[in-house]
Amino acid sequence: MSEDRFDELLRRMARDYNAPPETPREELWAAISAARTAPRTASRTDRRAWPWWLSGLAATLVLGITIGRFAAREAGAPAGGAPDGPVLEQAAIRTASEPRLPPAGQPSADAPAVSAPERGQGSGAPLGGHRVPLRVGPRYPAEIPAPPQRLARADSRPAPRAAGESPDARASAEDTAANPVYTLVATQTLAQGEALLTAFRAARRPDELDPQISAWAREVLLATSLLLDSPAGEEPVLRGLLEDLELVLLQIAQLSGSPADSAERAWINETLRRRDMLPRLRTAVPAGLMAGI
């Protein structure tokens, strides 16, 4: 067969290669508009890559500060009384072995919190060796419909501090703005979340899902939860994004990889779309950062 004839046949037969459907203009525009109106959490000056050891250091700092803040908060609660001994030790013991109780004066039953999907695992249940904290505040924008009512209340940890609730919260938010470490860690966590969700979306069938994705989700989930409890979680927009990410990560972390997961996967995909998760994450993560992950 001559080259010209082959090329012509090639073009003809390749015409329906990945033939695109009609452009979903309105859906795409809605997602783009939503992402554009969300303020960026990181400026372009953060785009330069940082050395890996700085990321580790930043994560350690967040962990330490978070534990310290929890310990200080719980030590200050009059109901339980101040714990004896070093504050960090007390916090570490509590984190590892006890369900958290709300400090006196803080409502727990009225504070909405997300639990695991109603499959038997409640909030704070051990998940792959980690105790996963969960919470949700009034965070969904009115124009984005909430997911089906699969969320249950959990009373195992205190409700999140509302933005502006106390001078302490405001001070924490100011800490965040002033502290580039939080921004750094938040950006890295969001970038990892974006990579994970992209990988999740790419698997069309349960058997295409990487078995390690649940373990990966647990790691990112832990970092997300820590960030939410750090001063970084006081920034309202970032908090909303982190909370949405936390919810989705929890669901992915619980996937077993079996065909029985298909309903769960469909629901996760629906959540991703309704919350505009990927566009929001991509808006929050400075361009070029993914290359370093």
């Binding site: 067969m1 090639l10 554009r36 790419a202 995909n269 361009a287």
Partner: protein, 192 residues
């Protein structure tokens, strides 16, 4: 066939439109989006072969374009700039997902090697061609998709990819060569 990067919508003054977008005019942003979204989505779909991924890439392309619109100097056509972002976003997204797909694709491919007798009767030559296109290196596949499937000219492809026109032609030629090699054992069926 689509294409024509420089003039997506006759009469549309893009420079003015961009100024209005930069001034915060949402209607102008929508106009700009409307003028380009079809071609960007089509290209994203052709390159990714997945609706969700194509949507993500299209969204990401426009989000980034609006985000960095102030940096667009007008040295090239806006649509050339936008297509450059789109190709980059699509290839980055594909890199992320390929790691997951590769192992399974290799297994599936190993399972699908047919016996010679079956080959003659294989009704899915088209699928084999599509698989061969999938296996092309991105360097060649992008040019093949843009030129042979979406109708972009070599000049346009060169501008989008930042390579000389001759390079675009050479890549297309290599892409076709590879497809020919991949399918030459089915040459008899092609001739039918």
């Amino acid at each position: 066939m689509l294409a024509r990067l420089a003039h997506p919508a006759p009469g549309l003054d893009e420079r003015l439109l961009i100024q209005r977008v930069l001034g915060g005019d949402e209607r102008a942003a929508r106009e700009l989006y409307d003028a380009h979204v079809d071609r960007i989505y089509r290209l994203a779909y052709r390159l990714t072969g997945d609706d969700e991924l194509a949507r993500d890439c299209t969204q990401d392309t426009f989000i980034r374009a609006f985000q960095y619109l102030a940096e667009f100097r007008g040295a090239s056509a806006f649509s050339t700039w936008l297509h450059s972002i789109a190709v980059s976003v699509c290839l980055n997204a594909l890199r992320s997902v390929r790691r997951l797909r590769r192992r399974r694709a290799d297994l599936a491919e190993a399972d699908q090697v047919p016996s010679p007798d079956v080959r003659r009767l294989d009704p899915d030559l088209r699928e084999r061609l599509h698989a061969a296109i999938d296996r092309l290196p991105d360097l060649y596949r992008v040019v093949f998709v843009m030129h042979d499937l979406e109708g972009y000219t070599h000049e346009e492809i060169g501008a989008v990819l930042g390579v000389p026109t001759g390079t675009s032609k050479a890549r297309l030629s290599r892409a076709r060569d590879r497809l020919r090699q991949a399918l030459e054992r089915f040459a008899g069926e092609w001739a039918v």
